[in-house]
Structures are given as structure tokens and as C-alpha cells.
Amino acid sequence: MPLIQIHDLTRRYVMGTETVHALRGVTLTIERGEYIAIMGPSGSGKSTLMNLLGCLDSPTSGYYELNGVNVAHMDDNDLAEVRNREIGFVFQSFNLLPRSDSLHNVELPLIYAGIPSAERREQAVRALTNVGLGERMHHRPNELSGGQRQRVAVARALVNDPSIVLADEPTGNLDSRTGEEILGLFEALSRKGNTIIVVTHEEDVAQHARRIIRIRDGLIAADEVNPNPRAAMKFAAGGTSMVAA
């Protein structure tokens, strides 16, 4: 059974008197363990697709089955539960809670999942150590570098052991070297069997994935296997080496 099955998914927005057709019927199947890049210029509908994939939004019509469950017409609260269980988000602007330290930020999904506090702490510490931030657990986001913040976000995305890691322009706010670090982290995660979907408009970033889906005008323009995924450059203190097996 594929991890994600999408059939003829559409999403329309009504803005004033105008109706915007952001997605016009997307059909897509994603298997467990894939590393996918979703590409497209701004306004192509790729963000809409990401929001739908991430269960942040509901489609106007169509079918979306995630891990065997039809989530297309779930209500707010059920979607929240699905997001909590199945999806780990990594955002362009990190989206950490500014007043909480790394540990608490990573613990948050577990709090919402109702995990008891001792177990929660243990898992969060492990997730932070896995991304190489074991020493920075009690730093707040403004005490961390951009790369470190994104790694906290990755740790938060992974702590619940979700079905998908969904990254929206994960390197957009990072310099190229730190960006490579994060992409290296994704590669390592992918090798470990995680399903990763990266939404980006940068060809360079997309080339790291093993499958590239191109969106244009709300439709899939191309869906191809990347024959030679680029490997992230390795740095002495880089991300790849930090992902414990």
C-alpha cells in the first residue's frame, strides 16, 4: 500500500468576486521511503499542494489517502491529530517558539500527543542529540545560529516518528553552506528510510531528491525520477555525520 494516494485533487479559493484555481486536479502516488522534491515557480500551486499534503488545509474536491486513511474531508480537530502523528514539518523560517528552549520546542509535538513527561523528555533529548544539538538543549532560538535553528526544527519534525517529513523551502533562509548541511541531514534521514518531501523553487535543492515533481498552473507538469541525485557536500562539522544511525 502506497503511503500517499492522491486522486484528482483540486483546491479553489474565493477571493472577493474572483475564484482562484490553485490546484486543478492533481493525481499522485508516493511510496514509503521516497525522497521527493516538489518544484515550481511562485503561484504554481506548489504551496497549496504542500498545505494539502501536510493536512493543514482541506481540498475542494478529490481524494487523499494518507497511510490508509482518507483525510480529504476530516474536520479541524481530526486533521490536527493526523498532523501530530503522521507529519513532521520543517519550515523556511524555522517556526520555533521564540520563548521556549530547544528542548521544549522539540517536546511540543509529544505534549500534544499526550506522552508522559519523563518519556517525552527522553525522546526529545534523543532527537536533539541525533541532529548534533545535544549540547544546546537549553538554548533559546535567538541564541542559536540559523543552521542550528533549522536542526532544532528537524529534530522537532522527527521526534514523533512521523510518516512524512514535509519541508517547505528548508534552505531558503540559510547560507549555501548551512543549506548543504541541512540537505545532508535529509539525505541521511532518507537513507534511514524516512519519507521526505521538499518543496522548493531552487533547482539546486531539488537535485538532491530522487524524484522531482514539477507543478505549473495547478497541474503536475512533470514527474520524473532523478537518475543522479546530488550528494550534499560534506563539512567537517556538517550535518550528515551528525545523524546517528
Binding site: D57, A80, R83, I111, Y112, R156
Partner: protein
């Protein structure tokens, strides 16, 4: 998510949010503090008033009935209908005393104001009581010196008197008052007894009084005195029966035809209590309403600031929702935050109101019982929950995509 960890997380969020905006939280709190202070002070004043009233009424005694021409609680129309009623007479008192079975004693009471002098010392505005031999027990008085009026004193209208403790101290400081001669207006009287210290009731200083036989009272002090017949009920559980018995006897004595209404009234403490409860209840309701307004204004302040807080933290709400926070979780988070502010304000308000109560107590009876503290804290939490609800609801219903897009 369990309720406990939810509450814990909410409390933590509330705490960090408040710490991040100390001044703002402080200023918002001020509104609630003022509200809680005014409500609490109003509460202490009302309970103080109630206590003071109960103490005063306690002096009357629940077992005492007052037969008078007029009811204590009459409307103007009632009064117009009843003002032509016949006076009560001393003969009524004697007959009642003879016929009644459910009362242990019946006495007569009449009052006025006069000037009492001893040598060159003078006391104006002294309460003059015309009593008989039974009045000591019926009025619940006690003597510190000498004796009370005797039946003989009353029958023959002897020129004797019993002094209140204040008058006795003033005229005979450190001396035996009994045997002394004082003058009430132009009447010469011999002091036969002195009352114990009584305190005051309904603003009357009971120690500033002089008691003379009712016969002498109606002869030399007041020509047609308005008499009150005071009856002490033998058994408290039979107050109603005693009242009926007195009523029957009085109707017979005054020859009231069966189809006519009573031409007298039997008053009791109960009537005052009922009247006070009606009036006091209104005062309390109005007072609490007015002071509640300031709490309301404070609540609006909280609502306002919570709307600001929600708007400012739209992004945070988006993040939390993306990570899996449900509507209820977000709702609880902001409700807890609002309730934390108002609970803090409530505690502060009580800390301010408590010393103020002690100050007020110097002028006016006031007390802050523990239940009032509990109520005040409950009210402040409730204010937070109520005024935080709309902002929290708005936060809970936010669309995660829109919320994440906010800066």
C-alpha cells in the same frame, strides 16, 4: 493530550507570555485589581452592616413582643388609616398581665427626652423611660446598684428614678448614687438604683437614660404618653401562639367588633429583621452592582489585551496547530492565560483590600470573612475566563495556513 499536561503546558505558556510583557500585563491587571478591591470592600461593608444590625437586634430579643398603636412597618396609607386609633391605657397593661398565659411578664414602656440635673451639673437630651415593676426583666436590663422600681412606686407614682450608668458616672463619680437627688426638668427624684452598662442599640445610648415610674411619667412628664406594652414570651417556640393570645385579649379589652381589623399592632424583632433584609438586600444588590461595574470595565480591559495577545501570537498559534494542537488546546491555553492574569489581580486586590478593611473598620463596622476572599478569587478567575473566551475562541478557530503566514 491529557488534561493535566494540557493545563501544565498552558500555565507555562501563560507564565512566559506574561513575563515577556510585564508592563502590559501589569497595567491590565490594574483594572481588575481596582474592580476586586471595590467589590471586596463593598462586600466587607455589607457584611459589617449585617453584623452590626444583628448585634443591635440581638438586644431586642426574639422573645419580646411590642403591643403599640402602630405597626413599625407601615406604608403612608396604612398610617393614615390608623392614626385615629385609641391610645393604649395603663389599665390595658394591668388587664393583659392578669389574663395572659403564654407570656412570663408584661410591662409598659414609654419614652421621651428631658434634661437631668444634679446640683450645677446638667445633662440634656437624656432618654426618659416611663416603666413599671416588670420592665427590668422584660427589657432585659440589670442593675449595678440599688433596686428597680417596685409595684408600690408605680401604683402611687413615687418620685424615684433609676439612672443609666453614664448619668450615674457623671453625677456621682466614685460615689454611691443611690439616695442622691436629681432633677428631671422640674421634677425632683430620688435615685433608687443604677443600671449596668448597656451599650447602644439603633443609635440610642442606653447608658444615657433615666427610668421613672410610668404613673409619674404620664402625670408630670408627658400628658398623653404613647404607651408600648412589652410582653416577654415564656417559650420561644410559642411566639406565634403568644402573639395570637395577646391579640385576642387586646381585641376584647378594646372591644373591637369581630368584623373590624385590629386597632393596635403587635410588633417584634422579626418585623425589623424582615424589613432590614428587604432594605439591606436592595442596598447590597445595588452596591455590588455598582462596584461590579468596575470589575466589568477591568474585564473589558482583559478582553482587549487578550485580543492583542492573540493577534500578536498568530504565528505561534499557527506553529502549534501545525504540530498538532487541537482547537480545545489553543482555547484552553488562552483561557488559562487570561485567568492567570485575573487571578493574580484578584490576589493583589485582596492584599490591597485587606488593610483598607481594617481602616474602614475604625469608622464603620467592616469585616472580611474567609468566604468573601474565596468568592473574590473565584470571581476574578471567572472574569478572566469570561473575558478571555472571545479572544481565545478566535485563536482556537484560526486557520493554520493563514496563521502560519502571519509575521
Amino acid at each position: 493530550m491529557t488534561l493535566f499536561s494540557e493545563a501544565k503546558e498552558s500555565a507555562f505558556i501563560a507564565w512566559t507570555a506574561l513575563r515577556a510583557n510585564k508592563l502590559r500585563a501589569g497595567l491590565t491587571t490594574l483594572g481588575i485589581v481596582i474592580g476586586i478591591v471595590s467589590v471586596t470592600l463593598m462586600g466587607t461593608a455589607i457584611t459589617g452592616l449585617n453584623d452590626a444590625f444583628r448585634k443591635s437586634v440581638g438586644n431586642i430579643g426574639a422573645d419580646t413582643l411590642y403591643i403599640q398603636r402602630f405597626s413599625w412597618m407601615t406604608s403612608e396609607t396604612d398610617w393614615r388609616l390608623s392614626r385615629n386609633r385609641k391610645e393604649l391605657t395603663l389599665q390595658n397593661v394591668r388587664d393583659l398581665d392578669r389574663l395572659v398565659t403564654l407570656c412570663s411578664a408584661v410591662s409598659v414602656d414609654s419614652g421621651g427626652n428631658g434634661t437631668v440635673s444634679f446640683g450645677r451639673r446638667q445633662a440634656r437630651g437624656v432618654y426618659v423611660a416611663g416603666n413599671d415593676e416588670n420592665s427590668l426583666t422584660v427589657r432585659g436590663l440589670s442593675l449595678s446598684q440599688g433596686r428597680w422600681l417596685t409595684a408600690g412606686d408605680v401604683q402611687s407614682g413615687r418620685p424615684v428614678c433609676v439612672l443609666g450608668s453614664y448619668l450615674a458616672d457623671r453625677f456621682f463619680p466614685g460615689r454611691e448614687a443611690v439616695g442622691g437627688k436629681v432633677k428631671l426638668n422640674d421634677m425632683r427624684l430620688e435615685v433608687v438604683g443604677v443600671l449596668d452598662k448597656q451599650g447602644s442599640a439603633f443609635g440610642n445610648d442606653l447608658d444615657n437614660q433615666i427610668v421613672i415610674p410610668i404613673t409619674r411619667f404620664s402625670q408630670d412628664f408627658s400628658r398623653w404618653p404613647d404607651l408600648t406594652i412589652t410582653a416577654k414570651v415564656r417559650d420561644l417556640s410559642q411566639v406565634d401562639d403568644a402573639r395570637e393570645e395577646l391579640r385576642g385579649i387586646m381585641r376584647k379589652l378594646r372591644r373591637v367588633p369581630p368584623d373590624m381589623q385590629d386597632d393596635f399592632a403587635i410588633n417584634s424583632q422579626e418585623a425589623i429583621v424582615a424589613f432590614f433584609n428587604a432594605v439591606g438586600g436592595t442596598i447590597a444588590a445595588v452596591g455590588l452592582f455598582i462596584s461590579g461595574l468596575s470589575l466589568f470595565v477591568g474585564g473589558i480591559g482583559i478582553m482587549n489585551i487578550m485580543f492583542v495577545s492573540v493577534a500578536e501570537r498568530t504565528k505561534e498559534i499557527g506553529i502549534r496547530k501545525a504540530i498538532g494542537a487541537k482547537r480545545r488546546t489553543i482555547l484552553v491555553q488562552f483561557l488559562v492565560e487570561a485567568a492567570t492574569i485575573t487571578l493574580g489581580a484578584g490576589i493583589l486586590g485582596i492584599l490591597v483590600a485587606w488593610p483598607l478593611t481594617l481602616v474602614v473598620d475604625k469608622f464603620l463596622a467592616a469585616s472580611m470573612p474567609w468566604w468573601l476572599v474565596a468568592v473574590a478569587l473565584l470571581v476574578s478567575v471567572l472574569t478572566g475566563v469570561v473575558s478571555g473566551f472571545l479572544p481565545a475562541w478566535r485563536a482556537a478557530r484560526m486557520d493554520p495556513v493563514d496563521a502560519l503566514r502571519a509575521d
